[in-house]
Symmetry: C2
Subunit: 359 residues, 2 copies
């Protein structure tokens, strides 16, 4: 499934992009006055292969939840059971991602790709209905291994997690989604994200590692050493993204890689959330460079590694407000900007049609 | 009316802000992880005097349209009749502001505070209905005078325009608006905006002046000289905001000043659009420094003067995407961020209520 998905990913359609650029020039506004929204609308036309591209609606958030063996290295003060508890909070509609999804009219699917602790009293594959989030049980294993001791995942496990993401992308798009939003939950998951970013970009562990939920100075220094130690142990090869995901990644990171690849293969835009998402996006770009064409950077996480990854991907984020929550919250805040950028091509009058003089 | 409005503007409520800070700490997310949204939610609690503050909905955009005598100095290649034509476009629903307002569920009122040319075949004070924009006829005069030759407005005219804005704010809030968004239309209006910003902040005309709709180098240099010449002629006193608005301002700038003051007096947030809005916000802050508490900076306009004004006001913009269209478009893009910031305080579970462990 992974190889077939990669094979389906192609470049943006130049003629649709040219048509979008020409349409932008005829709309009743000074040329270029919508700034980054104009460029975004052109790229989404290229992705869809038509001008205007379809409005990116309905929107579907996929939150991949997983746990991390490296949690044993005390890289965070939060107990591991919070991952399962927050899955419960998502399914009860009580988290920030739920509030933002209700506001944006987006659906939420929570995908257990490897939570270590039992989920509290939940029916798996609950259909949800009435706007409540849906749980998809797709655990590859109950948390990764400690990457400072051994590979976090086998190659087969990493592949299985990527294919969970590909399958979820396909299911959401088959159900009508016009845009996918990345979400994540996993106590300690900024540690493998930092390792992935260092592995794919070549920056030092100290540059790629941030404070996650806000750890204190000693924990932060220790976290950098943990990332450095894992990289030294495995020396992951950035040309082998499956190997990188297996040795220093996480189950939700691998699944998000698959979600991005699956969206790109179907030529549906995928709106990236924070540092977990962009670390997975680096893996997706390593599998298929053209996948970047389907990516929209929702926001700039406060995590320093996010900025490094975005620069490598060549993506400018739409929102930059110091968020570092994850869950898909930053992507949801950016969603109206993406929709607005496309809506302009659908709804705004031209100088001719509106009888407005040009300069 | 102006003096009474100023007298009603007071400081933020410290106890509501403390309550909002304490609530943010108990919600199921790492402390501080919503970045600027947390600070915004605290400030809006202080403005409303309650925690949580009301959701800022419904939203109402007020687009003030006016013309400018300084247009005769060839500061822009666009003909003056475009102001009236774009008012027609707004009322027909064909402009970018209309597309964004439909998406955000915001109402649009277009206020003719001084358009020079006849509006094309429109009934004044049309009620609109069914979501189409409403026209309010409130012209103080049919465009300002050329500020390089004489004062743009008399003090009485400037006051009348400010009071149009105050009245509109009151009308929209009486009709139920939970947040006001600033909009503007007026060919050449970045020229008086630059003069206002230079007058209120003391920066040089060259720093405050931008390319507006995107003028070429010779026009840009000439525009700077026009701003400089107007400032030299009138030497406006920043401690006399009515005098500044009269000598180097515009009718829509003055009306926006009134809209901001009117919102602040009613303790309703006002979401600022671009450079025209922030130049008016400087005037509002000069009338009543506490009015800044009601202001939310929607976005950072590409106009350099906007950044100077925002810095002076101490406001960080929510969106920074190189927009320079005006109309209220940047404010509308930021509206979901503001609503989301408040929604968190209403809807997100606490650690206790959700049974989530803390670190």
């Amino acid at each position: 499934m992974l190889e077939n998905t990669i094979a389906e990913i192609g470049p943006l359609d130049e003629s649709a992009m040219t048509a979008a650029r020409q349409l932008q020039e005829r709309l009743t506004k000074p040329a270029g006055s919508l700034g980054a929204l104009e460029d975004l609308s052109v790229r989404l036309a290229g992705l869809a292969g038509m001008c205007p591209p379809p409005l990116p609606t309905p929107a579907a958030v996929a939150i991949f939840a997983g746990d991390h063996g490296v949690h044993a290295q005390r890289v965070t003060p939060w107990p591991q059971e919070v991952t399962a508890q927050m899955v419960g909070n998502f399914l009860a509609g009580g988290a920030v991602v739920n509030a933002f999804a209700r506001q944006a009219g987006a659906s939420v699917a929570v995908v257990d790709v490897g939570v270590a602790n039992p989920l509290p009293g939940l029916d798996s594959d609950d259909e949800g209905g009435d706007g409540t989030p849906r749980l998809v049980s797709a655990a590859v294993r109950r948390g990764t291994r400690d990457m400072t001791v051994t590979a976090a995942l086998t190659r087969d496990e990493a592949r299985a997690a990527v294919e969970v993401g590909i399958r979820i992308a396909g299911d959401l798009i088959d159900a009508g989604a016009g845009i996918l939003l990345t979400g994540d939950m996993g106590i300690a998951n900024t540690t493998p994200a930092a390792a992935l970013i260092a592995a794919f970009t070549g920056v030092d562990a100290a540059e790629a590692t941030g404070r996650g939920t806000g750890v204190d100075d000693p924990t932060y220094q220790h976290k950098i050493e943990v990332v450095r130690s894992a990289l030294r142990r495995h020396t992951p090869d950035p040309a082998d993204p499956l190997g990188v995901l297996a040795t220093v990644g996480g189950l939700e990171h691998a699944a998000l890689t698959g979600l991005v690849l699956g969206a790109a293969a179907r030529r549906v835009p995928v709106l990236l959330d924070g540092v977990i998402a962009v670390s997975a996006a680096l893996a997706a770009a390593a599998f298929a460079p053209d996948a970047v064409g389907a990516m929209v950077a929702g926001h700039r996480s406060a995590e320093p590694g996010a900025t490094i990854a975005l620069r490598r991907l060549g993506l400018d984020p739409l929102i930059d407000l110091g968020l570092r929550l994850g869950e898909g919250t930053g992507a949801l805040l950016a969603l109206p900007v993406v929709t607005g950028a496309v809506r302009v091509l659908h709804e705004v009058a031209t100088f001719d049609s509106a009888g407005v003089a040009e300069k």
